[in-house]
């Protein structure tokens, strides 16, 4: 049984870790970019970014004062038993985030869209977002928190099958240039692309591709994996670096997630997970252990399942 107090303590600790410690995959990605950057001003900015992560860790303060919008992803094993059930999970996540906002401190970023009222704890109407996924043959629960910033780093376009790969590249360039000017979306970023689904699915897939896959991870479909690499290179050849200065450091990695879509369309979304790519993950086991990591392992084969049964019979028998 996974206990309520463990859930609460984990939500609190995840919020702290995400805000303060840059995930190692993103850090090595950025270090590699900084080593390659040849423009003087862009190099100066990248050096400041790297120094900032160090300062955040040494002083135990948030790496960026813009909290972004903290959210949670819950992946529950099919056999997991939780004290108080899923309602207790949500309560723990909400109260853990609210308390951590005060303790770290984080900037309370969430306000009512019209009245601008701030509860001062990053919790409010429909906030934080909590998304769910399930995993067969498991009794643990994985909780991931992501603090994604960037008012300027998301876009959507309804493309059509006739637009093809060129249309994808065109929109990708449009988006990168728009996000990148004056660096408002805080590149270098992990760029996530959602392709297909309906409009809402497309946005969700793209955001998850940006926030829940690590630098260096490739889509299991080799052709899509190739497109990821191609788009990454395209982004870094725009001629733009951090803050929109001349340079070559825009895209630390590019991830594409696809979903079956309407036969007449090819919706696409682009999301940039900024230089404060804040994510932290914990696995809660039935025996009370909690293990922290930074790779959400969200897109499991089961999660991406592509037919009526998640495992085709053949695969089941050979397993």
């Amino acid at each position: 049984m996974i206990r309520k107090d463990t859930l609460y303590a984990t939500a609190h600790e995840l919020t702290r870790r995400a805000a303060i410690e840059i995930p190692s995959d993103y850090l090595s990605g950025l270090e590699a970019m900084a080593a390659k950057e040849s423009e003087d001003l862009s190099s100066f900015v990248l050096a400041a970014m790297l120094e900032n992560y160090k300062a955040a860790k040494e002083d135990a303060r948030a790496m960026c004062a813009d909290t972004g919008v903290p959210r949670f992803y819950v992946k529950a094993g099919n056999e997991a038993k939780i004290e108080g059930g899923m309602v207790a999970v949500e309560e723990a996540l909400r109260s853990g985030l609210a308390q951590a906002t005060h303790d770290i401190p984080l900037r309370p970023n969430r306000v009512h869209p019209l009245w601008r009222h701030d509860n001062n704890n990053n919790v409010g109407l429909n906030a934080p977002e909590i998304e769910y996924s399930f995993e067969p043959d498991a009794d643990w629960v994985d909780i991931t928190t992501v603090h994604k910033g960037g008012l300027f780093g998301t876009d959507y376009r309804m493309l059509f099958p006739g637009d093809g790969i060129d249309g994808i590249k065109r929109f990708f360039l449009d988006a990168m240039i728009a996000f990148g000017k004056r660096g408002l979306a805080c590149q270098p970023a992990i760029v996530g692309i959602g392709l297909g689904g309906s409009k809402d699915t497309c946005m969700v897939l793209g955001k998850q591709a940006a926030c829940l896959r690590t630098v260096g991870d490739r889509n299991p479909d080799p052709k899509i994996a190739e497109l990821e690499l191609e788009l990454m290179e395209m982004g870094n050849n725009i001629g733009m670096g951090p803050m929109g200065f001349v340079g070559s450091s825009m895209v630390v990695d590019c991830h594409i997630e696809v979903g079956y879509t309407h036969t007449g369309g090819m919706p696409m979304s682009v999301h940039s997970f900024c230089l404060s790519s804040r994510r932290a993950v914990a696995r809660l086991y039935a025996d009370g252990r909690v293990q922290y990591r930074t790779d959400p392992e969200w897109f499991t084969p089961y999660h991406r399942r592509n037919d009526v049964k998640w495992q085709p019979e053949a695969a089941r028998q050979s397993a």
Partner: protein
Amino acid sequence: MATGSRKTVRLKTPVRREDLEQLELGDVVYLEGHVYTAREGVYRRVITEGHKLPEGLTELTNVSFHCSPAASVNDDATFNIGAVTATASFRFGALIPAWFEASDCLLILGKGGMTEEDYRNVFVPRGARYLTTVGYGTGALLGRGIKNVKAVHWLPELGIAQAIWVLEVENFGPFLVDSDGEGRSLFEQHNKRLNQRIEGLYDGLKQPALSRMGETVDRREELI
């Protein structure tokens, strides 16, 4: 930190016009003294609603910052301040003339700069300058430069994110000089270089199947 070939300038607040005059585009600046945060909430109260800035503030410093800190208020009414990150400045362009009148500021700190038009028409005649934060998510570095929260004004009215935080700072930076004495902008100079490449990036990509808004920016060219 290492600044490569950049010139590093240390400024004391309140800043003096003659010190600002020596700043060149791309110089790295660190501040010592006092700065305060002012963004849309403060602008609304001062410019739209006509409230006077808290007493003594404009005498204390002439540096205001488009920013909100990551901060919390403790039970004993003391403050806990962590990181500090700027918010995008360009959207305040129309308000800056009135803000200069009300605040006597000579230095605006923020994110991403403003337009050269704003610099020429509003900043240059006053001898004011604009400095941008670096990165921009380098809030921990800036947080280190805060020695003390000297005062917080309008907290009940505006909330933590929008209140006026008066910060005592030392070695506060890095910032980059974005506007010079002629109203040029470092960002716009770089944008001009980038724009020369932009069209070429699309070479060889076929035209969109339907010219929809976004793919075209002219409503009259929209096919559907």
